[in-house]
Symmetry: C3
Subunit: 320 residues, 3 copies
C-alpha cells in the first residue's frame, strides 16, 4: 500500500499541481503538509467558536459508507456543514450494492463524483478507497478501508491532538490493542515515523500483533520500535498512551485482557504529563473511571476531528 498513491496522484488529470489531490493513506503527508493542515485546524477552532462559516454553501460533499460508522460519518458531515457546505449522505451503501457484483465501486464513484465536489468513502475492502481515487473526477477521502487498511483522517486528528499538547519530535508512544486489525494504529504509526527521535511501543496480545508491513516500513526509515505483550512494562516511560479496541473473544486467554486494559492502576503508573488517547468507540479496554483524569484527552480528540476534517476539506476544495 505504500506505492499506489503516487500513481493515483499522477493520474488525477483533473487537478494538476495540487498539494493534495486525494487522502488515501497517511504516508502521503509530508511534515510541511502536516504543519499546514494543523495551522488550518487551529484556524477552524476559531471559526467554529464564532459559529462556523458560509463560505462553502455552493459545495457538496458526498459520504459513501459501505460499512456504517455513525461517528466518523457525522464528524465529516458536521465539518462540511460548519464550513457552510452541503452533504449527500449514505448511512449504509452496501445494502444497495449487495445485489451487485465485482467492480461496481468504480461506477458508483464516477457517478457520484459527477454530482458532488468531494467524496468521503468507507469501504469494507482493503484498498477500496484507493480504487475509488483512481477513477474519481473529484477528491476522495478514505474514511477507513477494510479491516487491515487505513483510516488516515483518524491518524491526522490523533496527531493533531498530540501536537496541541507537546512537540512531536522526540516523542515516546505506546500503541495498544488489536494491532493487526487496527486501521487507526497503523495509520498513526506511519505518521509518527515522519518525526525525529520518535519511539513506538506496540503493545498487543501475541495473537494480534502489528503486521510486518508496518515494521518493515519503520526499519527502512530508521524508526525505533519495540513489541510488547504487557502494558505495565512501558506505561511509566511513554508520553502518549494510545489505546484501541480489544475484543475479548479474540484472545486465547481472556484473563490476559487486564495486561492491556487501562484503569486506575495504570493511571497511577503513568507519567504526570502523559496523555491518553483512544479513537473510540471503546469496550472493556478503557475503563470509565479514567474519564475524569486530566490526562484523558479522548473526548477532546474526537472534537479535534471536526477541526482537522474542516481543514482537510478546505485544502481539497480550494479552487486554483
Amino acid at each position: 500500500m505504500s506505492e499506489p498513491i503516487t500513481a493515483v496522484v499522477a493520474s488525477n488529470q483533473a487537478r494538476p499541481g495540487r498539494k493534495l489531490q486525494h487522502v488515501v493513506e497517511s504516508q502521503q503527508f509530508t511534515v510541511p503538509l502536516l504543519m499546514e493542515l494543523f495551522d488550518r485546524s487551529r484556524g477552524m477552532e476559531r471559526i467554529v467558536a464564532r459559529g462556523g462559516s458560509l463560505d462553502y454553501q455552493h459545495r457538496i460533499m458526498a459520504t459513501l459508507f459501505y460499512a456504517p460508522s455513525t461517528r466518523t460519518r457525522l464528524s465529516f458531515e458536521a465539518a462540511m456543514q460548519r464550513l457552510g457546505g452541503r452533504v449527500l449522505s449514505t448511512e449504509q451503501a452496501r445494502a444497495f450494492s449487495s445485489e451487485m457484483e465485482g467492480e461496481q465501486v468504480e461506477d458508483s464513484i464516477r457517478i457520484i463524483g459527477s454530482y458532488s465536489d468531494v467524496i468521503v468513502i468507507r469501504h469494507h475492502e482493503e484498498g477500496g478507497a484507493c480504487r475509488a481515487a483512481q477513477v474519481s473526477p473529484v477528491p476522495v477521502i478514505n474514511a477507513g478501508d477494510g479491516d487491515g487498511g487505513q483510516h488516515p483522517t483518524q491518524a491526522l486528528l490523533d496527531l493533531y491532538t498530540i501536537h496541541r499538547q507537546r512537540p512531536l519530535n522526540g516523542l515516546s508512544v505506546a500503541l495498544i490493542g488489536e494491532l493487526d486489525k487496527g486501521r487507526t494504529a497503523r495509520s498513526l504509526a506511519y505518521l509518527l515515523a515522519k518525526f525525529e527521535r520518535v519511539k513506538m511501543f506496540f503493545v498487543s496480545p501475541p495473537e494480534t500483533q502489528m503486521k510486518p508491513d508496518i515494521l518493515a516500513y519503520l526499519e527502512q526509515h530508521g524508526v525505533q520500535y519495540e513489541q510488547e505483550t504487557n502494558l505495565d512494562r512501558v506505561v511509566g516511560e511513554v508520553d502518549v498512551v494510545y489505546q484501541t479496541r480489544i475484543r475479548p473473544e479474540r484472545l486465547c486467554d481472556r484473563a490476559s485482557l487486564k495486561r492491556y486494559a487501562i484503569d486506575s492502576s495504570v493511571l497511577r503508573r503513568m507519567k504526570s504529563d502523559a496523555i491518553i488517547l483512544h479513537p473510540l468507540p471503546r469496550t472493556v479496554e478503557l475503563d470509565k473511571s479514567v474519564d475524569d483524569d486530566p490526562r484523558a484527552l479522548y473526548f477532546q480528540q474526537a472534537k479535534n476531528g471536526l477541526y482537522v476534517r474542516m481543514a482537510l476539506l478546505t485544502m481539497l476544495l480550494e479552487r486554483e
Copy 2:
C-alpha cells in the same frame, strides 16, 4: 421516572439559568412554560406560511435514532430546516452500535454533542434519553425511549392541537389503545394533569391497561380518571377522543377489538364539537372512513408537530 429530570437539569453546568435545558419527559413542563411554547408555535405557523427563516443557518441539530421512525425524524429535521438550520441524520444508529456493548450511548452523545448544537434521540431502552441528557454538552430532546417510556414532544403537539380548539381547563378526554406500552398516551396524561378540572378515561383492553405509575401520579395530584374496557360507554361525553395503536395480536379475544376501534358508528355517538386525535401511524383501530369527518384532526395534529418542534428548538437553542 418523575425525579431524575431534576438531577439532569441541575447537572447541566453548561447552560445555567435556562428555562429549558433538555426535553426528557413531559412532567418537566409547567403551565407557564407550555403557554410560552404554544405562543411560539403560533408564531412558527406564520413563519412557515411565509416560507421559513434563515436565522439558524449556523446551528446544527443531530438526529440519533437507535430505532427507526421516519415520520418523527423527518418532522424534527423539517422543523430545523424551516428555521434555516442544518441537520446531521442517522436513520438507524443501532445497526452501527450493535457491535458494541453496555454504556456506549453516553460516549456517542459526548462525541456527537461536540459536533452539534442539539441532539434529538430515539432510544430503544426506557431511560435512554435521560442517560443521554446526563452527559450531553448540548440540549437533548427525547424522541421516544423504550416501549414504556415517554415521547414528550408528541404529547406537546397533541396538547397544542387541543389548545388550538378549546380551553384546556375542564377538559374531558378518552385515551384509547394499548395504554401499557403507549408512550404517547403516557406523556399526554402527565401534561393533561397540569390543568384544572380535567377528567381522563383510560379505555383499553384488560390486558393492556395504563400502568400504575401514571395512576399513582394522577391520584397524588388529585386528577379524576376512570378505567374503561369499552369505548361505547364514554364516547358520548368526552371532548377529545385520543386513539392510539392497537395490535390485534396482543388481544386474547380478537373480536373485542371492535370495542376500541373508531369507525362511522363511533362518529355518530360522539359530541358534535368533539375532536379525534391519533399520533399515527395507525392500523386497524382507526378506520379510513373517519378521515373525512370534520372532527378528525390527526393530519392537522401531525402538521402541528412541525410548529411545536420549531418552537421547542428555538427555546433550546436561544443564546443567553
Copy 3:
C-alpha cells in the same frame, strides 16, 4: 397504467392550472413539455458550471425510498441542493414501515407532504407512486415503482442525452436487456413513441421480452417496432444502443448471454456516430472495455440526470 394520471391531475385541487402537477409516468409528457424541460436542463448545465444557485433555500424536498437506490436518491438530492434547496432523506423507509400493514403509504405521504414542498418516492410496489400522488398535498415524483412499473425521470434523462446528440425524429433505437422487468426501458419506449418516424428494436432473451401493454400502446400510436433475440442482427443499423441490466440467472441458457452483451466486437459493428446508453448499475451485460469508446455516453447520461432533475424540480416548485 395509461389512464390514472388524468385522474390524479384532475384531483390535485391544490395546484390548479399547472403544466406539471406530479411526475408519475412518462406518457404524461407532451412534446412541447419535453422541449421546455430540455431547454431548462440546458440552463441548469450553465448554473451548475457557475457553482449552483441559492434560489430554493426555503424549499424542502423529501426523498422517501421504500427500496434503497443510492444513485437515484443522491442524484435527486444533489439536484435540490444545487438549486440551493434543502433535503429530508430516507435511505430505507421500508425498514420502518414493515411493521405496518396495508394502506399506510397514503398516511405517510399526507404527513410528509405537510413538512415538505415536493416528495420523491421510490416504492417497491407497482402503482405506489400513483397512490402517493392521489393523496399528496405537494407534487410527487416517481423515482421507480415496482419491478414492472416506471421510472420516468430516468427516461427523461435518457431522452435528454439523446437529444443533446441528434434529432429525436427519425431515430432508430435498440432497447436491450430484461425488458419485462425493465422500468427504464418501458418508460423510455413511451417517450420515444411521441416523436416522428421512430423505430424501436426490443432485443431481449425470449424469457424476458417486453410486455404486451407497451406493444399495444405502440401499435395504437402507429409506432414501428420489432422484437429480436440477437443484438447482432440490429446493432449495425441503429442510432442508439440502449443497454439495460441482464441477470444471467434469469436465462435458461446462460451461454446465450453473449447475444445481448456489449463488448469490443459489438463496438466494431456499430455505426460510427451511434451512441451507447445504460441506466447503470451494470453487471455483465456491458463490458468495462467499452468505457473508453467515444460512443459510450453512460457516464455523461448519469451526469445529465442532475440537470434534468434540477429542471424538473423548478417546474414543479414554481409558484404561480
